[in-house]
Amino acid sequence: MHSKSIVQEKTTCYHCGEDCNEQSIRIEEKQFCCEGCKMVYEIINQNGLCEYYDISEQPGISQKIKVRKGKFDFLDDQTVQQKLIHFSEGVQKHVIFYLPQMHCSSCIWLIEHLPKLNMGIVKSQVNFPKKEVTIVYNSDSVSLKKVVELLSEIGYEPHISLNDLSSSKIKKYDKTKIYKIGIAGFCFGNIMLLSFPEYFSSGNMEDTGLKTLFSFLNLGLSIPVFFYCASEFFVSAYKSLKKKFLNIDAPIALAVLIAFVRSVYEITTLTGAGYLDSMSGIVFFMLIGRFFQNKTYQSLSFERDYKSYFPLGVNVIYADGQEKQIPVSNIKVGDRIKINSHEIIPADGMLFMGKANIDYSFVTGESLPVEKSIGEIIYAGGKQIGSAIELEVVKEVSQSYLTQLWNNDVFKADKTEQKTSFIHAVSRYFTYVLFSIAIVTAVYWSINDSSRVWNAVTSILIVACPCALLLSSTFTNGNMLNILQRLKFFIKNENVLERISDADTIVFDKTGTISLQSQSSIKFDGIKLDSREEQLIRTIANQSNHPLSKAIVSHLPFQKSLHIKNYSEEKGKGSSAIIDGEHIKIGSPQFVLLDKSTLSDDDGSKVYVSINNEIIGRYIIKTKYRNELENVISSLKSTYSLALISGDNNSEEHKLRSVFGNNAELLFDQHPQDKLNYIKELQNKGHKVIMIGDGLNDSGALQQSDVGIAISDDINNFSPGCDAILDGKQFNKLKQLFDYCRKEKSIIFGSFIISILYNIIGLYFAVQGDLSPVIAAILMPVSSVSIMLYTTTLSSLFARKIKI
C-alpha cells in the first residue's frame, strides 16, 4: 500500500520543482528533473550551501535548457568590460547585473553567498525589487567572464543586452523629489508651529517683538519652499504658457506666487502674518501627491526595443577557419557568423551552411518554424532551432529588416503628448471661473470700499487654489495603479489609465496572446496504437524536420529508431518509408490516401498515418488557448468591438470565429507593418484602440494603438515596448480590470465635487476681503486630507466590489 502511494504521487525536482520524467536522476533521496538541476545541486552541496533549499522549497531554476559553452566569450573584450564595469578601484571591480530569474529569498541567500563559490568574488549584494546584484571581484584572480559563467552555472544567467552597452551610465533613480518632499514637510511643520500663537491670539499678540520674530522666522523657512520645492510648478506652468496652453500647474503656481508675494509684503511692512503656512502646505501636499502617482516599477521596463532581445556576442568565422566571438554591433557585411541552437539571429544573412529551421514566432507571430535552404536570406530576429548554422551577413544589425520597424515614426512620438487629460480641461474652466470671480469682486469693492480690493483679490487667488482638484486625480490614480499592480496589471502611468477608460475597440494578437506559445495539444484519433506502431511512427517522424513531425516526435514516448529504407519526403505533404518491412506513410490526407475527398473537418492541423496503405488514424494538432478565453471574449463583446490580427495562417479560423462571434474582424497572415496600419485605420475612423499583443511583431501595433498592452507569462521576461504589461495568468480577469480602470473618472468627479464645496467656503470669506490666515490654514490641510482619504478609500472599495 505504502509503496503504491509513492508511485502515484507526482515526483517533482528537488531543485526546481518541475515534474520529473520516468527516467529520473537522483542523488540519495533527492530527485532531479534533469542533469542540469543535479549539477547545480552538486555545486551547492559541495560548497556547503544547502541552506538554499531550506529557506524556500524547490527554489531553483530549471536547467533543462543549458547555457551554451562559450556564450560569454565576448566578455573578455576590453571595451565590453569597460562598459559593464560600474566602478573600479585597483583590481577590485564593481559590476551590476540584472538577474531576471531571481524570485525568492533562497535566491537572495545563494547569490549573496557567491564569495563562497569563488574566492575571487569579494562581495555580492542583491537588490531584490530591482532584481539586481552588485558584485565586487578581484580582477587578478577571477575574470568578468568567470563571474558571469558562475552565475549561469547556478541558474541565474545575467541579462546583458546591447542596451547596457550603448548607454554606459546606469540609469539613476531621481532622488530630488524625495529631498523636495522632506524639505517642504520640514518647513511646513515649523511654519505651522510658529504660526500657532498668531492663530490663537487672533492677531492681537501682546509681545510685538515675539510676533515679528515669528513672522521673520516663517519667512526664512518659506524661502526654500518657494524657491526650491515649488520650482517644478513654476517651470511646468511657464512651459505650458509658452505653448499658449493653460495646464493644471498654472493656477497652482499663481496661487503660490501670490501667497508668497502678499506674505512678504505683510511681514516686511509689519501689517500681518501672511499665508506662508498655507503656501508651504499646498506645496507639501502637492509634492506628496505627485510622488505617489509617479511610482515606478523598479524591475519592469516599458521602453524596450530590439536591442534588448539581441544576443551580445556572436561567433564570427574567419577565412582561416578560426572562430572568434565579437560584439554584435561590430558585425560587418560579408562576415560569416555562426548561429547556435536557440540563438537569435542578429543580422539579416544568407544561409551558408547547415539546416536552418527558424522560429519567427516572436517577430511575425507565425507559430510554426520555417525551414530555409542554403542560399536563402534569413532575417534577423528569428531563432534557430536545431543544429548550428552559418550565415553570411548581408546587412548590418542597425539596418536589418527587423530594426526597420523601429525607424517608423510611431516610435518617436510620445503618446502622453497626443492627448491631454480631462483634468487639465477641468482645471482650465476652474481657472476661468476663478478669474471672473476675482474680477467681479475687484469691481464690486472698487466701487464700495477701494481699500479692500487688494485684500479680496489676493485672498481669492490664494484660497481657491485647484490643489484639491489636482490631489484628487493624483491620489486616485496612484492608488489605482497600486491596486492594479497587485493584480499583476502593470500600467506605465496615469495617462494610460485614462486612455483605457476611453477605449472602444480591442484588437488581439493570436500567438502568445490568446494562444499559448510553444504549447499545442496533440491528440491521436484512430485505432489504439501499440508500442511497436508508436515506434514506427516515431521513426519516420524523426526523419523529417517539419514542425508537425517534430511535434509528433515529442509527443510519443522515447524509443529507439528502427532501421529505415526507401525514405522519401515531399515537402509540405508528407513522407513515406519502409521500416521493418512495413510501408508507412504520414502526412496530409491527399498524400496518405491518394484521395482528393476531404474528411469531416475539425480545427487544427492534421497528420494522417497509414501502415501498408491502411489508414490507422490521424494526429490532430491544435493550438492551446488561454483558459477561459471564451468567457473573457464574450464578456468583452458587449462593451467593445473586437478584432483579431494574427501573423499566423488561418487554420484555426473556424474555432476563433465561434469564439469572437460574427461581428469581429479576424485577419490572418499579417505582417508587423500590416498590424500597425490596421490600428491606424481604426483610429482614423475615430476609434480608440486597445491593442493586446506579446511579441516583437506586435510592437508597431502596440505603439500605434492608444493603449498597448503586452501580455507576458513571465513578468520578468522581456515584453515589447508598451503602455501596460499584464501577467498571462490574469488574462481571465481582463474584463474586470478594464471595468475597474473605467471607474477612475467617476471617482475623480466625486472628489471634484468635494473640492468645489471647500472652494465655495473659502471663497465666501475671500470675496468679503477678510480671509484670516487661520481660516486659510484650516481649510487647506482639511480639504487636502479629506480628498486623499476619499479617493483612496473609494478606489479600494471599487476594487473589492468588482471582485478582482
Binding site: F87, S105, E112, K123, Q125, K130, T134, L217
Partner: protein
C-alpha cells in the same frame, strides 16, 4: 519671555539636524532597496566579518554616484 528665544532657536536647530539626517539617509541609498535587507536579516549569518564589508561597499558606491 526671553527664554522663548532660546527655546525656539534650540528647537529649530534640532529640527534642522533631523532634516539633514533625512537628506543624508536618502543620499546614501538607504531607501533604494526597502525589501532585501528585511529578508537578509533573517538568514543565519555564519561569519560576522561580512557585515563590516557591507558597510564599506555601500560607502564606496555612494561615492561613485
Amino acid at each position: 519671555m526671553s527664554v522663548i528665544f532660546v527655546l525656539i532657536s534650540a528647537s529649530l536647530i534640532i529640527a534642522t539636524g533631523f532634516l539633514i539626517a533625512f537628506i543624508w539617509s536618502v543620499k546614501s541609498g538607504q531607501y533604494d532597496d526597502d525589501y532585501t535587507p528585511s529578508v537578509r536579516m533573517l538568514f543565519d549569518e555564519d561569519n560576522a566579518s561580512q557585515k563590516s564589508e557591507t558597510k564599506e561597499i555601500q560607502n564606496k558606491s555612494t561615492k561613485t554616484t
